[in-house]
Each structure stands twice: as structure tokens, then as C-alpha cells.
């Protein structure tokens, strides 16, 4: 497992940038969930994959008063030890257990919930294994590698009655909630177009030349590959952007950011549990300006971030990473990471921003903070905002766009039957065999 796929993606500092507009809202205070916590009622957690993204998630969990992390797991000794230090420091002891093989961590009966942040190819199979072991799961995005994986993920969540949250954390950030509410509460009039930021589209199938595999203690190549097709080792795959993410077998094309931004867009127009029906291949190789239409007529437009690294990308729609824009008959809102406030067509749209957000939180008894929402779900057994089907459907949209890009043609999708209409070849791209001994 490579546990830090997101090295290039972590420009956001989690505890620093969120909610600049009004950071002092009461987060679902009435729940009585996050108040005074007796140590024996803490949730026992483990973390698997504690590279860049995974250690950030772990750090957030360690800030929650009702969490006690008992164990961490990573194939890399350096990451494992660093995570253990952070956990031990918070717990004031030296008891945090460490594992190389995640199956040993999942076998522990005293762990309630796990944070999973291995490489993308692992997300679904490992989430399913964790839920079968009776764990609640906070799993990083992108949630799935294929449409069929998403169906299996939803089935596992249902079969085991577990709580699952995919790591689309903007669903619980102030500015993004505000933008979503402006759309959902009709402040933009009838929303006709939603724009989602995407990154470089690459789904290479070629192999890099074989290199000698490193010693197993340093990196278990077979375990790194896990459920993905076998191919010879090359260190060029290790790492995230510019490495494994650019490959068909290991990455998810437009879902690099689309897993976040499409999820936001679908949430904003109340389309969490479906996908667009018409997909228009844009005749390019980047997926820029890819247009998909929902059954209700709303257009989803993918927008390629022109220069994602270094300065925040500014494409005329937003300036920052993971941007979205919602346009309606009476106005528009756009937001990306690091904004002090969303940008809007008319300033008046933001006049009662605090009320819009606090009403959303109160009315739905949701907290700010994606990990907090997950932890509340663990306690209340209510599904978190980005539960398995939300993950599956927004990822389906991304996968369908990828398939359209690969087949270079327009596609029609039936979101009820989860089938392409009159396109057997596309239908056969909904699933890929998982490499033995792993399974869904």
C-alpha cells in the first residue's frame, strides 16, 4: 500500500483555512455528542495508510475529544513510527500499536472504526474488508475504481449495517456548505449549470521498465499492487500525482479532483443518489469542458485546472483548488479552497450567509467538519453526509466521463438500471476483475 497518494494535493491546511467567514457556529450542539466525554466512552480507532493524506485525517481525529486511537498501520516504517509518535503524544502513553499488514489491525476486536488512506486501488476492497470485520469506515477519496466497485461498497455498507464516509471533506466545510445552500434554497433561481474542477486527465496503460523489487521489509510490491493488475516494479509508480495516479490500473482520471467537485455539484442540486444521463465527449484529450446532463436538464461542466501546482489555478470560474461554480437563472456562486468567502453574482446573496449555514446545520443536525460528521454517525448510526451511495454515485459520474474519454464518444446512462443505453462496449467497462486473492 502506498499511503500518501496525495502529496501534490494537500495544499489545504486542514485546521487553518476552513470557515473563515464564521468559525464560531454551534456544531449541532444539541446532539449531546461531542461534549464532556468519559474516557471509557471514547471511540476506539485505528488508521491504515498514514502518509500525507492519512496522517492529516489522523491528526483531525486526534483533535476530537471522544476519539482514542489504538493502532496505526503502514507499509512504510517511517510513516508508521511518525504516526505512532503523534498518537502516543495525544494519549500520553506509549501504547499505540503498529502494523505492517492491515488485516492484523482489522482483526482487533477492540477497534470500533478505522481511517483508511492507502492508494486509490485499495479504497473499496479494504473498506469492504473493514466493514465485514465490523468496523465503521472513514475512507479517503476517490472512493472507487469502477462502477461495480461502488455497487459492492454500497452493498457492504448495507449488509453489515456499518457507517461509511468517503473523504469528500468539503461537504462539511463552511464555504462549500454555503455555496450548496445558495443553490439548494433557490437563491440562485433555477440552477442550470454546475461546474466542477478537474485535474490533468491521464489514464495510461503502458508499463514502466521493470526494476529490481526492493526488499519486502522496505516495500512489499505485491501488497502495494494489492487488488490491481500485476505489473513489474518500478519506483516511478510510487507517490501520487505524476506517478501512479496517471495510470489506468491505479488512478481514476477525472476523479482525481472530480471525486470532490462532482460530489459537491451533485449535492448542490439534490442529485446525490443519481448520475447525469447524457455525456458529451468534448473531442479533446483533457476532459476540459466535458458536458454531462442530468435527467432534470442541469448541465455538469468539467473544467480543467490550467496550472494546478504553485499559484492557485485561475480559470475565470474560480481561483483555487477543487473549485465549483453553480449558475442559476438569478445568479451564481463559485468557491474553491482558501476563499475567505464564496464569490457571488450579487453581494446580497451573502447577506445572511451565517443564517443559511447555521440553519443547514441545525435543521439537519450536522456538524462542521467531515471527520466529526463521521464520528457522530458512528455514535448515532445515522449515515454521514458522504455515505457509500453518495460516494458511489458521484464516482460513477466520474467513471462514466472517463469511459467516454477512453471510448471517445458520447454516452447515455440509465442511473436506475446503472447501465449504458445501447452500448455493450461501455457496459463492459463498468467493472474490472480484482486480482486474487483480493475480492469485493
Amino acid at each position: 500500500m502506498d499511503a500518501s497518494p496525495r502529496r501534490g494535493f494537500t495544499r489545504r491546511r486542514f485546521l487553518g483555512t476552513a470557515a473563515c467567514l464564521a468559525p464560531t457556529l454551534v456544531p449541532a450542539a444539541a446532539l449531546g455528542l461531542d461534549g464532556a466525554i468519559a474516557p471509557n466512552s471514547r471511540l476506539a480507532m485505528g488508521a491504515i495508510g498514514v502518509g500525507g493524506r492519512g496522517s492529516a485525517d489522523l491528526g483531525i481525529a486526534l483533535h476530537e475529544p471522544d476519539v482514542q486511537v489504538l493502532a496505526v498501520c503502514d507499509v512504510s516504517k517511517g510513516r508508521r513510527d511518525a504516526a505512532k509518535r503523534a498518537v502516543d503524544q495525544r494519549n500520553g502513553n506509549g501504547d499505540c500499536a503498529t502494523y505492517i499488514d492491515f488485516r492484523e489491525l482489522l482483526a482487533r476486536k477492540d477497534i470500533d472504526a478505522v481511517i483508511l488512506a492507502p492508494g486509490d486501488r485499495w479504497h473499496t476492497p479494504m473498506s469492504i474488508l473493514a466493514m465485514r470485520a465490523g468496523k465503521d469506515v472513514y475512507s479517503e477519496k476517490p472512493g472507487t475504481m469502477t462502477i461495480a466497485e461502488g455497487q459492492a461498497l454500497v452493498a457492504a455498507e448495507r449488509q453489515y449495517g456499518r457507517i461509511f464516509q468517503t473523504g469528500t471533506q468539503r461537504r462539511a466545510e463552511y464555504n462549500f456548505i454555503l455555496a450548496d445552500e445558495l443553490a439548494r434554497q433557490g437563491r440562485l433561481g433555477k440552477v442550470h449549470t454546475v461546474y466542477a474542477s478537474t485535474l490533468v486527465f491521464r489514464m495510461m496503460t503502458s508499463w514502466l521498465p521493470a526494476q529490481p523489487e526492493p526488499p519486502r521489509e522496505q516495500l512489499d510490491w505485491n501488497l502495494w499492487l494489492g487488488p490491481a493488475p500485476w505489473r513489474p516494479y518500478n519506483k516511478g509508480y510510487l507517490g501520487g500525482c505524476g506517478a501512479f495516479l496517471d495510470y489506468y490500473d491505479f488512478g481514476t482520471g477525472v476523479a482525481g479532483w472530480g471525486s470532490h467537485t462532482v460530489c459537491q455539484c451533485q449535492g448542490a442540486i439534490g442529485a446525490d443518489l443519481t448520475s447525469p444521463v447524457d455525456y458529451e465527449y468534448p473531442c479533446n484529450d483533457t476532459a476540459h469542458n466535458f458536458v454531462a446532463r442530468f435527467a432534470g436538464g442541469v448541465r455538469l461542466v468539467m473544467d480543467l485546472a490550467p496550472a494546478p501546482w504553485g499559484n492557485p489555478p485561475d480559470n475565470g470560474l474560480w481561483h483555487g483548488t477543487c473549485g465549483v461554480k453553480y449558475a442559476g437563472s438569478e445568479g451564481w456562486v463559485s468557491v474553491a479552497d482558501g476563499y475567505r468567502a464564496p464569490e457571488v453574482s450579487h453581494p446580497v446573496l451573502l447577506a445572511d450567509h451565517k443564517k443559511l449555514v447555521s440553519d443547514y446545520l441545525e435543521r439537519n443536525q450536522r456538524p462542521l467538519g467531515h471527520m466529526r460528521d463521521f464520528l457522530n454517525g458512528v455514535k448515532t448510526r445515522r449515515k454521514p453526509v458522504s455515505h457509500a451511495e453518495v460516494a458511489h454515485r458521484s464516482m460513477s459520474t466520474c467513471h462514466i466521463i472517463n469511459i467516454s474519454m477512453l471510448l471517445r464518444r458520447n454516452l447515455k446512462w440509465d442511473p436506475v438500471r446503472e447501465e449504458f443505453v445501447n452500448d455493450p462496449e461501455a457496459n463492459r467497462m463498468r467493472s474490472r476483475a480484482v486480482r486474487e486473492p483480493w475480492r469485493l
Binding site: 453489515y160 441545525e362 467497462m429
Partner: protein, 839 residues
């Protein structure tokens, strides 16, 4: 909620075409050949998409090879027809361990019912992995036969194997729910919840058993909520979230009094999520005697349910002595989703206790109860200072134009400095929201001329927040009054719009107050870039301002402004400060920024600035970035023309020559041009690219640069053209051979998939033409990305064109230069450079 989807590809079979069979044969050859593993993986990937029964034998041969089994299965899982399933079943008897597990998983993916019998036999084998794969596969196949096999195995399994079988049982029961076989599912879930090996599976079984029972399972639900262990309680709560209907709501509400305190909060939360008003009486009754924590949870639930029946109690709780309860109730009242709550909080405004009135004001503000305006105005004159302050604040939040007179009255009547500040803040807030700012300003100006005391400067500040001509005029007149002079002049220096530029320009030159001079100068530097004038004029203004600068601080501001003014002149002005040690870093940074800004439109000037920094910048970082900028600007460009001859180009013999180092075509009275003739670049048919070309036209000339075009016989071309004429009239237009002038200078045009055209003006066509230099060398930059084509001339955007027209759009094609018929003319092109996107 329980739609189980099996990927049944068998149902999607369509007869393969001849072409498809040919491709399949080709990939089978690869599988059977001596090629590399990578090639075989690729063949399998293709066969997964298009493979037919013909490919099955070759794929089946690979199932025993651990490097190729997965890709082979990937294809076999997806090939329609019975052959692939039969081949996978045949492999069951030949394989062991992981490879066998893989084949089992593939049969599960195909939902292969015929495999059930073979799989049932594998449930009792020694290999736990294989047994679990078989159990999960049987579960997913979901036939009655598979179910019987799983049930039997669960009863008979050794303790170690039981968990594997249990996983299959759960999968089977879930599949049964998907088929709407609730009875079958219930039976299997019941078996799992009582007989499974692990707590996780028993809990899953309970959850499933409850969901399968639906409203009929309330007794089991109650029992599990009250008496169950932690895992059972948890499963029951999860199930309750999945079962709609009043019976479950009643069961949950009934459990409130019967479960331990730590579970009460969770049951209340579940009731809130259900949003059924039927539970409200039970929740209110329960909260009667409950402690602060459950009451807070009850408040959360009541808010979610949103039944107005809860409002009186929320009002009561809002004044509770327990901070936790009062905070929760106030938050609930602020968010409560009903009009009754508006009336309830407005009603609190007339309460006797000042504390309650202050709280009510806050709630009215949060709920934005505009109907409470009379009460708010009254509160703004309340006897209690805290209530007055809260009232003014809410008035500021909710007030509209209608409240302006009353607010001005309040300002006039304010006695304490707090009241004055409060009224001023409220007025400013209301004014800022006015769509008709002029009208609001007129009112405030009228007030200002008659105002006395502290209200006078306050009104002036309100005008500042309004801006506009009338407000500025008032500020100017106030500057003539001794008492207001300082305030007014500072305000003018702080003016947000360019209207104040003449004032601050004058002040910066003439004021005798050194401090004020500095403020005015700073304002001048701030306002110059805001003008809507050509960049040269801004540079000239900033240069004038710089002449007055005495301190490094203002010099830095001016440098920063110059850095954002995209004109080469700005660079020259910045460069004058490079020798000033006090601002050297800022000057270098500014020149760097400007150099980057100019890279697209003024590449030569940009390079000169960056080269200077790259060679001599004192700041190491600036130096490195300048070097990088130079590298980036040069990377990826290729010269299309060598400046010497027609290498790389082809056109009608005799029509194109190289003259003055430029590709040249000329017609004369003796040798007129009778039909369009094009010079084609032979190096490719690029799609997404930047093309830069310098061109010079005689006065009568008509020419153009073809992009993404087709070649036609007799040196003709067809497609998009960046148009140009010697008189400039068609410079900056996109022309198309079929559709004519499709995008004009100053326009942004989109043609939709349906061929419909929409236009938007982005700049004045006449103004844009001013960048074109007749009879001299000009530079076209043509930027093509996806459906978009943008034209720049001499660094200025001329037009944008987005082509989605399915009938006519072209994504790539030839580059060519046009020679046009007509009066004698001469067209020349040089320095043609191409940078393909992503290369």
C-alpha cells in the same frame, strides 16, 4: 432502498460484427504468441471490452498463470454468452489457492447460477480463503439452491470456517432483499443473527432481520433497543434509520423512558432524523423531567421535526438557567423551520425583562423577521442601553430603504457615543445594501446638510460607505468647513472609486499638510489602476505620482501598481527604481511580475525584462524565477519558418517567395491573383496550440492564417481563418469558409451543438483596432484549446470563439497562409512559431 445490482452481461449480448471478430482474432493471436506480458495484459483489456466467445479458449488457458490469471478473468467476466462461464467453471477443478479464489470471484461477478453446485462443494474445503470466496459467490449468485447450501454449511461448519460461511449468508440475504424476497431474507438474517460466528455478523444479521421485517418487526426492535448489548442496540438503531413509518417512530418514542440515559440521547437523535410530528408529544413529555443533556438532545430532535407544537417549550427553554439548554433552545429557535417561530420570537420583544428582549432581538435578526420592523424601531429607542444596541444592530441587518428616515432620526437623536456608533453602523449597513445608491445618498446628503454635533461626521462617514457623485460632492463641501475638514479630506483619500482621483491628485501636489499629502499620494497610486483607460495612461499617471514620492513606502506601492499594469512602459518606469537600494527588492519583484504578465502579449519585452533580472537581480529568488520564466517562454516552441527559404512549406509555384526574411506573396496589375491560393505548413495538423506570427500587409491587402483546416485541390483550404486586411477592418475576426465571419473583433461567440449562435460583446471593436499598426509589422497570436479559439493582436485579446457545432467544428488540421484575389496587394509573414499544448 435495497436494489442489488448484479452485473449480468449475458443479458447485454449483441451479435458481434465482422469487424469486431477481426479485432478479436488479432488479440487472440497476441495471447497465443510470444509477446511480452505487457502486450498480453493489453490484449486482455481489449478483449474485456470487445471479446466474444471465440476468445474464451485462449483466455481460459491463462487462468493457471499467476501473472495472467487476473487479466484473463477480467476479459472472461465481461464476455457475453455461456462459453466464458463454462470455461471458468471448468477451471474450478483444476486450480488451488489464490488462483482458485480468483476464478470463484469471477463466477460471482458473472452471477453464474450454474456454478452453485460446484461452489457448494468448495464451502467445506480446507482452504479458508477458498471457502470464503465460495460462500460470498454463492451469496451473490443468490439462487434458492445457493441459499440452501449456505444454510446447511453454517450449521455444519467447524468453528473456524463458520465466519466464512456467515459472510456468504449475509450476501445471500441481501440479494434476497434486492429481489424483494423479504421472507427468504428474514429467514437467512435470523439464522445469521443467532448462529453466526462473529459479533459483527450477528449484529449485521440483526440489522438485516429488522429491515426485512419492516414495520412488522417493532417488537424485535424494542427488545433490541432496550435489552440488547451495545452491538445489538447499535444494529437496531441503524435499522431504525432505514425503516420508514409511524410504527417504528412510535417504538422509538416508547423506548425513550425505558432505555438507559446514554441511549436516550441517541434515540432522540433518531427521532429527529425521522421528522415525524407524531413523536413530538412523547418527546415533550420525556423532556419534562429530564436533565440538561437529554433536554438539549430533545431540542435538536424537535428542531429537525419542525412541528410548531414545540415552539412554546423552546421559548421557555431559551431562558433556561442551564446554559447548555438555553443555548440549544436559542439555536433551535433561530433555525426552526416554520412561520410560527417568527411570530414567537417577535412576541418576545414585548417581554418585561431586558435580557429576554435582547435575546429576542438577536433571534429576530437571525430569523430575519422583517415583519417585526416596528418593534425593532421601538427597541432601538428602548430605555435599556443593551436593548438599544441590539435593536440598532438588527435594524442594520434587516432594514431597507423604508427604514432610512427612521434610522436618520435615531442618528440625530442619539445621546451617547454608543448610540451614535450603533446608529451609524446600522445606517451604513442598510445603505450598503441599497440597489439605488444615488437615492439613498440623496437622503443622507439632505440629512447631512441640516445635521448637528456628532451626527454630522457620522453622516459623512455613511456617505463614504455609499460612494457616488452626490456623496463625494458632500465630502468636498465638508472639506471647506473647518470642523469637518480633516475628516472629509481623509475620507476623500480613502474614497473607493476613481471619482476622487482628481481630488487626491490635486491634494498630493498642493496640500501643505505633509501627512495629508502622503495619504493623497497613496490614494492616487491606489486609484490610477482602477481607471478604465489604456494601460499606457495608467503608466503615465503612476510615473507622475512617482515623481512626488518622498518615502520608500509609497515608492513600493507605486511599484506594485506598475507591476500589474500590463504594458512595456511600466517596465521601463519600474527599472528606474532598480538602483534604489531602499526599494530594490520590490522593484525586482515588480519587474518579475510584469515580465510574467507580458509573456503572452508582449513576448519580446517580457523577455528583455526577465533577462535583465536573470542576469543581475540582487534577490536570489527573483533571479531564479526570472530564469525559470525565460525557460518556460522558450520551451516547447518550434519555428515554422527558417527565415531563409520555403523549407517546410508548400504552395502554388511562383506565388510565394521569401523577401526581407518573410514569407511573401504579391499580386500586381500585370499579375493579378485570380483565386485564393494558400501556402501550407507541412509539419502536421495540430489541434490545441499557440501559434504566433508576425504579419505585414499592404493597404489593399486581404489575407489570413488558416488553422485546423482542410487541404483542398489547387492549393485551396477550408476551415477557420484568423482574418486580416490591410485597413485593419477584418483584423481580429474569425472567418470560416462555410460559415463566413463567425466571430467579430470584440466579441465572444459560441456556436452550440445545435448550430445556434450566441454572442457577447467583450470589448469595443473600434478601441481594439487601435492596437493594429497599418502598414507595419503586427503580431497575431492564435490560441486553440478544445472547442475554443482565441485571437490576440499585438498582445490584446480580439475575440473568442467556442465551436460546438457538430456539423462544422474541427478539432485539428492544417496551418496555412492566404493570398487573396483583388487589387494588387502584398502580404508578408515572419517569425511563425508554434507551441502545441501538452507537448
Amino acid at each position: 432502498m435495497n436494489t442489488l445490482i448484479t452485473l449480468s452481461f449475458v443479458a447485454l449480448a449483441v451479435p458481434p460484427s465482422g469487424a469486431q471478430e477481426d479485432r478479436v482474432s488479432k488479440w487472440i493471436e497476441v495471447l497465443r504468441g510470444e509477446g511480452s506480458l505487457e502486450e498480453k495484459h493489453a490484449a486482455c483489456r481489449e478483449l474485456a471490452r470487445i471479446g466474444t466467445a471465440k476468445a474464451v479458449p485462449a483466455l481460459a488457458e491463462m487462468l493457471g498463470d499467476e501473472r495472467l490469471s487476473q487479466p484473463a478473468r477480467n476479459a472472461l467476466e465481461n464476455i457475453p454468452g455461456p462459453e466464458a462461464g463454462a470455461a471458468l467453471r471448468a477451471a474450478l477443478g483444476k486450480l488451488k489457492g489464490a488462483l482458485l479464489s480468483g476464478v470463484i470471484h469471477s463466477l460471482a461477478a458473472r452471477g453464474d447460477a450454474e456454478a452453485a453446485e460446484d461452489l457448494a462443494r468448495l464451502l467445506s474445503g480446507d482452504d479458508a480463503e477458498v471457502a470464503e470466496s465460495a460462500a460470498l459467490a454463492l451469496g451473490r449468485i443468490g439462487t434458492p439452491e445457493a441459499g440452501r447450501a449456505l444454510k446447511g454449511a453454517l450449521a455444519a461448519a467447524a468453528p473456524g470456517a463458520k465466519a466464512s460461511v456467515g459472510a456468504g449468508c449475509l450476501a445471500w440475504a441481501d440479494a434476497a432483499m434486492g429481489r424483494r424476497d423479504a421472507a427468504g431474507a428474514r429467514e437467512m438474517f435470523d439464522l445469521v443473527r443467532t448462529a453466526a460466528a462473529t459479533e459483527a455478523q450477528r449484529a449485521a444479521g440483526l440489522c438485516g432481520a429488522l429491515v426485512a421485517r419492516g414495520e412488522g418487526g417493532v417488537d424485535l426492535l424494542k427488545e433490541s433497543l432496550r435489552g440488547g448489548d451495545a452491538a445489538a442496540f447499535s444494529a437496531a438503531l441503524r435499522a431504525a434509520h432505514e425503516i420508514p413509518g409511524p410504527a417504528v417512530t412510535a417504538a422509538l418514542a416508547g423506548a425513550l423512558g425505558a432505555v438507559p440515559a446514554d441511549r436516550q440521547v441517541l434515540v432522540l437523535h433518531a427521532l429527529g432524523v425521522r421528522r415525524e410530528a407524531g413523536s413530538v408529544p412523547a418527546i415533550l413529555a420525556f423532556a419534562q423531567g429530564a436533565g440538561p443533556e437529554p433536554v438539549a438532545a430533545a431540542i435538536g430532535a424537535l428542531t429537525q421535526i419542525g412541528d410548531p407544537a414545540a415552539i412554546p417549550r423552546l421559548v421557555e427553554w431559551a431562558s433556561s438557567a442551564d446554559a447548555r439548554v438555553s443555548k440549544a433552545a436559542q439555536a433551535a429557535l433561530a433555525a426552526f423551520p416554520s412561520a410560527e417561530a417568527d411570530a414567537a420570537v417577535a412576541g418576545l420583544l414585548s417581554r418585561d425583562e431586558p435580557k429576554t428582549r435582547a435575546m429576542a432581538l438577536q433571534l429576530v435578526g437571525q430569523r430575519r423577521v422583517k415583519t417585526a420592523m416596528p418593534a425593532l424601531l421601538k427597541a432601538a429607542g428602548d430605555a435599556d442601553p443593551k436593548v438599544r444596541a441590539a435593536g440598532l444592530k438588527v435594524l442594520g441587518e434587516l432594514g431597507g430603504a423604508a427604514e432610512l428616515p427612521a434610522l436618520l432620526d435615531l442618528l440625530a437623536a442619539a445621546k451617547t457615543s454608543e448610540d451614535l456608533d450603533g446608529a451609524e453602523a446600522a445606517l451604513s449597513a442598510v445603505c450598503r445594501r441599497q440597489a439605488d445608491r444615488e437615492a439613498a445618498a440623496a437622503r443622507v446628503v439632505a440629512f447631512f446638510s441640516g445635521a448637528q454635533g456628532g451626527a454630522r461626521p457620522a453622516a459623512l462617514r455613511v456617505l463614504r460607505s455609499l460612494g457616488g457623485a452626490a456623496a463625494l460632492a458632500a465630502a468636498r463641501s465638508a472639506a471647506g468647513e473647518a470642523a469637518l475638514r480633516d475628516e472629509a479630506l481623509r475620507m476623500i483619500c480613502d474614497w473607493p472609486t476613481v471619482d476622487a482621483l482628481p481630488d487626491v491628485t490635486e491634494l498630493s501636489k498642493t496640500s501643505t499638510d505633509a501627512k495629508l499629502r502622503i495619504l493623497a499620494l497613496r490614494a492616487r497610486i491606489r486609484l490610477i489602476p482602477l481607471q478604465e483607460v489604456p494601460a499606457e495612461r495608467k503608466v503615465a499617471g503612476l510615473k507622475e505620482a512617482l515623481a512626488l514620492v518622498e518615502r520608500p513606502d509609497e515608492r513600493k506601492l507605486a511599484l506594485a501598481a506598475l507591476a500589474e499594469t500590463p504594458h512595456p512602459e511600466a517596465g521601463k518606469v519600474i527599472a528606474e527604481s532598480l538602483g534604489d537600494a531602499a526599494v530594490r527588492t520590490e522593484a525586482e519583484t515588480a519587474l518579475l511580475r510584469l515580465g510574467q504578465l507580458l509573456a503572452d502579449g508582449w513576448p519580446e519585452e517580457s523577455r528583455a525584462f526577465l533577462e535583465r533580472l536573470a542576469a543581475a537581480a540582487a534577490d536570489g529568488n527573483v533571479k531564479r524565477q526570472a530564469q525559470r520564466g525565460l525557460r518556460q517562454a522558450e520551451e516547447g516552441w518550434k519555428d515554422l519558418f527558417n527565415g531563409k527559404d520555403l523549407s517546410g512549406w508548400e504552395g502554388a509555384p511562383g506565388w510565394w517567395t521569401v523577401e526581407d526574411g518573410a514569407l511573401t506573396s504579391e499580386s500586381t496589375p500585370e499579375r493579378p491573383c485570380k483565386a485564393c491560393t494558400y501556402l501550407f505548413w507541412k509539419g502536421g495538423t495540430p489541434g490545441d496550440f499557440d501559434l504566433v506570427a508576425e504579419f505585414r500587409l499592404s493597404a489593399e491587402a486581404n489575407s489570413g492564417i488558416q488553422i485546423r483546416s482542410e487541404r483542398r485541390p489547387n492549393w485551396d483550404a477550408f476551415g477557420y481563418q484568423a482574418d486580416m486586411t490591410g485597413d485593419g477592418k477584418l483584423v481580429g475576426f474569425v472567418y470560416h469558409h462555410k460559415r463566413g465571419l463567425i466571430a467579430g473583433r470584440g466579441q465572444s461567440v459560441t456556436i452550440g451543438a445545435d448550430g445556434k449562435k450566441s454572442e457577447q460583446v467583450i470589448a469595443d471593436a473600434g478601441e481594439l483596432l487601435k492596437v493594429f499598426r497599418k502598414g507595419e509589422w503586427n503580431t497575431y497570436r492564435i490560441v486553440c484549446r478544445g472547442p475554443e479559439i482565441a485571437l490576440y493582436v499585438n498582445g490584446t485579446l480580439m475575440c473568442r470563439f467556442t465551436d460546438r457545432d457538430a456539423a462544422s467544428a474541427a478539432a485539428s488540421g492544417f496551418i496555412a497562409l492566404q493570398m487573396h484575389p483583388g487589387p494588387p496587394m502584398k502580404v508578408q509573414f515572419r517569425n511563425l512559431r508554434l507551441k502545441e499544448a501538452g507537448k
